[in-house]
């Protein structure tokens, strides 16, 4: 169960980080003119790492073949959720993203 939580939380947090690394979505969330600045590289790195973590969790949770299917499905769901949050709740986006990151971290601790 914590593994499945990790799959979804990590892919959501990962996509949120990747979107915040882009100027357009940084403006959506933090207002016109804001850029991720020096954070850009870290957001990209962290987002990629979270997506990799989600892959690892999927393979652990569902095995070597079905795990890939689970991962791709979770990525699709998480990316759709990210787009929905960016256009629907832009001002709470960073809180939800942080919460997803927190859940991912906790479930990782639980798994290890």
């Amino acid at each position: 169960m914590p593994l499945l939580g990790l799959v979804f939380a990590a892919s959501l947090a990962g996509f949120c980080a990747l979107s915040l690394a882009m100027d357009r979505h940084s403006e959506d969330v933090f207002g016109r003119g804001s850029t991720p600045g020096a954070w850009r590289r870290w957001l990209q790195l962290g987002g990629t790492a979270l997506l990799c973590l989600s892959l690892w969790a999927s393979l652990e949770a569902a095995g070597g073949s079905v795990g890939w299917v689970l991962w791709l499905g979770a990525l699709t769901a998480a990316a759709l959720a990210t787009v929905g949050l960016l256009s629907g709740l832009p001002h709470r986006f960073h809180w939800i993203a942080s919460a997803a990151g927190g859940v991912a971290f906790l479930s990782l601790l639980f798994c290890l």
Partner: protein, 553 residues
């Protein structure tokens, strides 16, 4: 050169998508529903909801089924026994009658099989659940269509799927900014919003769309491209030999009766031996060829588990002695395994409920991708008439046709699907030909929405049909509460959980459709408030993706 290529791909994408879009929308919607076809069928048989099936050992369930079949179909040519699973608590049995003697009346020949659902614990037939095709209807609809020979339908659907594959590849080429626009959705911006919605639903579920279209073609590849085996096996007995060699132990095995009676050996030891051979994996299906004949053969197939491949290993036993004849498919050949995995990915029967839900979400994204693509064509085309419309002119025939078909296909299909469920619960239980009556209601309602859409492709009509679909879906749990024993309040607490799941998904789809109807209303108000120069209200240009969220199945 590069621009030229991209532009020609844009042309290809537009037309390959538009021409088959309406069929594709139906195929996507019905196919998406098919992920839950067992649950849909179960919901549509409320007589089964109150029966609680404790878990029964597989060997016991198999013996009970064999006893039932011995009593009721002792002289059948073949028995099929499908053992219960978490998704399907009853034992399914089907017996095929022996071929009638030559010269018998044709009425006797037509109905060649008997089907029943048994309680696994007692082996008694479950008293007359209502006749319904259930989820099987949507499953068949998505590649066999209806009211036409299945073979034609499969060619039509295959043709559309091929166009879909072309549209996917050309769409990827056309879309210049896949990664820059990865998360981009800008609502309330007219054509821009439509394009964003189309891109987001297409790109974010791209692995699914490419997989499902390609594997869909693979499932029927021996029909679309039969020439390989035909040529290779020309001198060796034709394609039947090919299938027997490529997929040994399959259903195509034909056993001739000897004519000598012999009692069938007990099934329980065979089930136990098979399960032990597969490291404890449960048995899925038992086929008894020529039961109670000296030549009887029992073929046992493993249940679908967490294996991608559709082909499951099987074991064959001598039906009179119970001795093992052989094991098949334990180490599948690479080519057969490749096809099995591609096939298995398409039908997704390996998936647990969570993974199934993810497939469902991706399928809904596919419906939205097709729907937004169709609407985008109309929105773009309408701009060419903007000037003429301002002067009170009319739009062209092509655009009017597309508008009407869009309405009937996109807003009408959910109404028809919901009507199918309503018909299931409201038609009298004992009416003759109930299966077909439910299906007729589906097509009557769909036909009506399509005709109305073609006659009046207006915003009002969009709104009316979306709202009707929303109402019909959202009220399904209420209907269930009045016509079945497992209302949502009961099923949420004590099961069956698949009925609760159906009701909740119906509410969610209803809310999605209601959201779409609400957005059309906003658009219509805006059009009314604007200076009323145009004689006709302009049709929709600004449903957003979230609005369309319920337009799927």
């Amino acid at each position: 050169m590069k621009d030229g290529f991209r532009q020609s791909m844009a042309w290809l994408h537009t037309w390959s998508g538009l021409l088959v879009g309406w069929v594709l929308f139906m195929v996507f919607a019905a196919g998406t529903a098919s992920y839950f076809k067992d649950e849909i069928t179960f919901w549509m048989k409320p007589e089964l909801h109150a029966i609680s099936h404790g878990s029964v050992a597989q060997a016991v369930a198999a013996e009970n089924a064999a006893a039932y079949l011995n009593r009721n179909a002792g002289n059948a040519a073949r028995w099929f026994i499908t053992l219960p699973t978490a998704r399907e608590p009853a034992v399914g049995v089907l017996s095929i009658k022996p071929p009638p003697p030559a010269g018998s009346p044709p009425a006797e020949r037509r109905r060649g099989f008997d089907r029943a659902a048994l309680d696994p614990a007692t082996g008694q037939a479950i008293t007359a659940p209502r006749e319904t095709r259930g989820g099987e209807f949507f499953y068949r609809l998505h590649f066999d269509l209806h009211y036409m020979p299945a073979l034609w339908a499969r060619w039509i659907v295959g043709f559309c799927a091929m166009f879909m594959l072309v549209a996917i590849v050309s769409g990827i080429v056309t879309h210049k900014r896949i990664f820059k626009d990865f998360f981009t959705f800008r609502p309330k911006k007219g054509q821009r919003s439509w394009l964003d919605a189309h891109n987001v639903t297409a790109v974010l579920a791209l692995p699914y769309h490419a997989m499902i279209t390609y594997t869909g073609l693979v499932t029927l590849m021996f029909m679309y491209m039969p020439w390989g085996p035909q040529v290779a096996y020309k001198a060796h007995g034709g394609t039947d030999t090919f299938f027997a060699e490529a997929i040994p132990g399959g259903l195509r095995t034909q056993i001739k009766p000897s004519g000598t009676k012999a009692a069938l050996a007990p099934l329980a030891p065979m089930v136990a031996q098979a399960t032990a051979h597969w490291d404890g994996a449960p048995v899925g299906r038992i086929v008894v060829h020529q039961p109670n004949d000296a030549n009887a053969v029992v073929s046992i197939t493993r249940a679908e588990g967490r294996h991608l491949s559709y082909e499951q290993p099987s074991m064959q036993f001598n039906g009179t002695t119970g001795a093992l004849i052989g094991t098949f498919g334990d180490v599948p050949k690479a080519a057969a395994e490749t096809r099995g995995v591609l096939y298995g990915l398409h039908i997704g029967r390996f998936a647990d409920p969570l993974l199934r839900a993810l497939f469902f979400v991706s399928g809904l994204a596919g419906c939205l991708m097709v729907a937004t693509g169709l609407l985008l064509w109309a929105v773009k085309e309408r701009q060419k008439y903007a000037k003429a419309l301002k002067q009170g002119g009319r739009i062209g025939f092509g655009l009017r046709l597309v508008d009407g078909l869009n309405l009937g296909a996109i807003a009408g299909l959910p109404v028809a699907m919901a009507a199918f469920f309503w018909a299931n619960r409201l038609l009298p239980v004992d009416v003759v030909g109930r299966n077909e009556a439910e299906i007729r209601w589906f097509f009557i309602v769909w036909g009506a929405t399509a005709v109305l859409g073609l006659l009046r492709p207006t915003l009002r009509m969009w709104q009316a049909q979306l709202a009707l679909g929303a109402l019909l879906f959202a009220l399904l749990p209420v209907l269930n509460a009045f016509t079945g024993p497992a209302a949502l309040t009961v099923s949420l607490r004590s099961g069956p959980s698949s009925v609760a799941g159906f009701d909740l998904v119906a509410i969610a789809l209803g809310l999605g459709l209601a959201g779409a109807a609400w957005l059309v209303e906003r658009k219509r108000r805006k059009a009314l408030a604007a200076p009323r120069k145009a004689v006709k209200p302009p049709p929709p240009t600004e449903l957003t993706a979230s609005a369309a969220a319920g337009q799927g199945s």
